[in-house]
């Protein structure tokens, strides 16, 4: 039972970060219909930029965060304007291919700039706490708290502000949004900016536990099972999907890996595979994911 609670709690903690990263992915999909397969690289670059801020520019942690958000935000807008905007109106597949090109390109840039070594990014304390019978690191509590904060801030922005309303309007009906004077390409820029910033924050939070490396881009791609489970176009689905994936991979490590080892297989790899298996099952039962939007049709 202790082990179960331990796995559950640490799953929820890391899952919130996944949810945050997935939020950026969902936002780009909702506003422009584009599957942003470079979201993982935005996560990775966020961590590298923060690492540079702290270790090269010697910023304090708060400034390093702001520095990361600023650089990532600019990067998001540049990607939107330079890579995505010229493809508006082109077949969706070309746009998605473009995000693959971006993902490979950004990973290459990261290797050129920072090398392939894993660097430490210890920005939080190293204490451990006992919560409900589980041992929880200070780092994961920070990661959880900051993710929740970011999600709440984003939700308020999305629901209550003019910019958020414009995003929801564009997500719903692009031509109708244009007809009321919303400039769609600005909304695209906005969604990439937010995707890059929340991705970067997610990257910092993940790297504060695991270190900064190219591997983060794969971790960043955890968004795929997250959004498949939660529903591609659902903001709350992204968060809940993130938590589900966090819990699922921890449970896989705790309960399934030992079983697989007993069978004489090497084991240990289920952490990365299990979320996809789960996504597969959920997609079979609910093709829109758990919270995916069905169109409202009055009968």
């Amino acid at each position: 039972m202790d082990m179960f609670i331990q796995l559950l709690i640490s799953g929820v903690l890391v899952g919130t970060v996944y949810g945050l990263i997935a939020l950026g992915f969902v936002l780009v999909y909702k506003s422009s219909g584009i599957l942003n397969l470079a979201q993982g690289e935005l996560v990775m670059l966020g961590a590298y930029i923060c690492y540079t801020g702290i270790n090269v520019l010697h910023l304090n942690i708060a400034l390093a965060f702001l520095f990361t958000f600023a650089v990532s935000g600019v990067m998001g807008i540049v990607i939107s304007r330079v890579a995505i905007r010229p493809l508006v109106g082109q077949p969706l597949l070309s746009v998605i291919m473009m995000t693959i090109v971006l993902s490979i390109g950004l990973r290459g840039i990261a290797i050129l700039a920072w090398g392939a070594e894993t660097e430490g990014l210890s920005i939080f304390g190293h204490s451990y706490y006992h919560i409900a019978g589980a041992v929880v690191s200070e780092q994961s509590i920070w990661a959880f708290a900051l993710s929740v904060l970011a999600v709440v801030a984003f939700a308020l922005y999305f629901q209550k502000t003019k910019g958020g309303r414009a995003m929801r309007a564009v997500a719903e009906d692009q031509q109708a949004a244009q007809s009321v004077g919303i400039k769609i390409i600005n909304v695209f820029d906005h969604s990439w900016l937010i995707a890059a910033v929340v991705g970067a924050l997610g990257g910092i939070l993940l790297a504060s536990g695991s270190g900064v490396s190219i591997e983060l881009s794969h971790l960043g791609l955890k968004v795929l099972p997250v959004v498949l489970i939660g529903g591609l176009d659902s903001i709350q689905g992204a968060i809940i999907g993130g938590v589900i994936v966090g819990i699922a991979e921890n449970m896989a490590v705790g309960y399934l890996d030992p079983v697989v080892s007993d069978w004489g297989l090497v084991g240990g790899g289920l952490r990365n595979v299990f979320p996809y298996i789960l996504a597969l099952f959920i997609l079979v039962v609910r093709p829109h994911g758990l919270f995916g939007q069905k169109r409202i049709e009055r009968i």
């Binding site: 309303r165 244009q178 007809s179 409202i296």
Partner: protein, 261 residues
């Protein structure tokens, strides 16, 4: 005042949809465009509002002026900023947003702080929307949705509304109610309308002037009164015979066939 001068529209580089059209919408007037499906009425509205550009449609000839400024090369949001707003056909509201949020998006281009007051004004005009302000708009009835899209357009404080088939798919009584509101907006707010409709009779009752379109051309124009009293129009678009009675089924079928020319 809107002037459309010799406009030609080509879709996908090959299909000539509008074949040189000229007309005008004076300030504070309701001008209607009547004509069968496929005549190009919607296309001309989109050409004015700039929405055509997103649809592979291109204005290849002529120009469109609004208050002596040429607007046919402008982007949709610039045209909305100048006070010309289109209400698209088919009640295109933001279905997952509430009634009130829909109205707020209508004020997107505005920077002043009177938005709240104008929302109340829309509620006054359409009291039913006031009761439904927190409702997800996708669940409103057809008539309520049509009121909402018109209300949303009003939120931009337009001087000209391009209104595309507001009575489409509504019960005749509701359609009349919507058109009455259009008349009310015109007289009270001084907003002019370019109104595209299939329902010729009800439309001509509120309109000041009308144009009849057919396969990309204007074939007839006149004041609403002239159009109502014109024999051909009566026969083809209103379906009334000399004595003011409905035509028999056979004759209506005949007129439908002729309507296609």
């Amino acid at each position: 005042m809107l002037t459309v001068n010799g406009v030609e529209v080509i879709y996908s580089k090959v299909i000539l949809v509008i074949k040189g059209i000229s007309f005008e919408v004076p300030d504070r007037q309701i001008v209607c465009l009547l004509g069968a499906n496929g005549a190009g009425k919607t296309t001309i509205l989109k050409a004015i509002s700039g929405l055509l550009k997103a649809e592979l449609g291109v204005i290849t000839d002529g120009h469109i002026n609004w208050d002596n400024r040429r607007i046919d090369r402008m982007r949709p949001e610039e045209i909305v900023g100048l006070g010309v707003v289109q209400v698209l056909e088919g009640r295109r509201l933001f279905r997952h947003l509430t009634t009130e949020d829909n109205l707020k998006t209508g004020a997107h281009i505005r920077k002043d702080h009177a938005v709240k007051r104008d929302i109340d004004m829309v509620y006054e005009l359409f009291p039913r929307l006031n009761d439904l302000k927190k409702r997800t708009s996708g669940y409103l009835s057809g008539g309520e949705q049509q009121m909402l899209v018109i209300g949303r357009a009003l939120m931009a404080k337009p001087q000209l509304i391009l209104l595309d088939e507001p009575s489409l798919g509504l019960a005749p009584m509701l359609a009349d109610e919507i058109l009455k509101k259009v008349k009310m907006i015109q007289t009270e707010e001084g907003t002019s309308f370019l109104l595209v409709e299939q329902n010729a009779k009800a439309t001509l009752e509120i309109a000041d002037y009308g144009y009849i379109m057919e396969t990309g051309r204007i074939v007839f124009e006149g004041s609403a009164e002239q159009l109502i009293n014109n024999e051909d129009i009566k026969e083809f678009y209103i379906g009334l015979s000399e004595l003011g009675q409905r035509k028999s089924y056979r004759e209506v079928k005949h007129y439908r066939r002729r309507k296609r020319w």
